[in-house]
Amino acid sequence: MLQRNRFEGDTELIVLPGEPSFIVKRTFNAPARLVWEAWTRPEYMRRWYGNSCMTLEVCEMDVRPGGAWRRVLRMQDGKQIGFHGVYREVEFPQRVVFTEVYEPVPEHPSLVTVTLSERDGKTSVVVEQLHDSVQSRDAHIGSGMEAGMREALDRLEDFVSALPS
């Protein structure tokens, strides 16, 4: 896999052939009910969602089918990016499905499915973000990742590691 041999960390990124989606996978050393809390309570999500360059400035969520959510990420340069959507399915503690509108491109919402499966006290989390088309995925991610695929990525990784910089 692309990411494993390059960087620290266990998060997998999977891009499937011909599908306008990204899948992110990770296992957490905690039972599903706690992972669920961390994903569905704003005071918890505020503490983890984001990174050294992007902080979560607004986090509102009304976790029930038909309930709305909104998040605003603030970049280091002060620029803000907003996302919002509506919960479609809420099944404690295993599945939550919601729409996600990237506010700069509001006409193309994506559909995000977060699936939790607990085993031996650990919980694997799969986040699938499905866009309505390759174009809107591109707009969302600010890049043009058309028809990316795992095989291509593996190849890519081979090229990059094999070639002189």
Binding site: T11, L13, F28, N29, R47
Partner: protein
């Protein structure tokens, strides 16, 4: 090309198995159109079409040597594509490391409450 268009061209080019095989061959060194087409049951025009897609993406360039104009691999666009994907993954990884910390705290709270 904008960065977005460049990445788009790179991934479009990589989406096809024949083109990936051509790129793989070029990692061994430059090659002529005839040499590149040999492993595939493809007409020369078909091979040339694949090469044009790769050229438009900036993944290969033509050498100047004689009339053969051998193709060679260009590394920069591939690196950009990998870097973009890595930034996306990294965002999640950094978030998840923080989530690990929060979950530890929640577990401790839960254990303390049981006592």
């Amino acid at each position: 090309m904008t960065e977005s268009e460049a990445l788009d061209a790179t991934f479009t080019a990589l989406a096809d198995p024949t083109r990936r095989a051509i790129l793989a061959r070029l990692t061994e060194g430059e090659a002529s159109v005839t040499e590149l087409g040999r492993p595939f049951a493809l007409s020369q025009p078909a091979v040339s079409r694949h090469l044009r897609v790769l050229e438009r993406a900036g993944l290969i360039t033509r050498g100047r040597r004689a009339q053969l104009r051998p193709r060679r691999l260009e590394v920069a666009p591939l690196k950009e594509a990998v870097e973009w994907l890595e930034r996306y993954r990294q965002f999640w990884e950094e978030s998840f490391v923080r989530l690990d910390g929060l979950l530890e705290e929640l577990k401790e709270k839960e254990n303390a409450a049981k006592k």
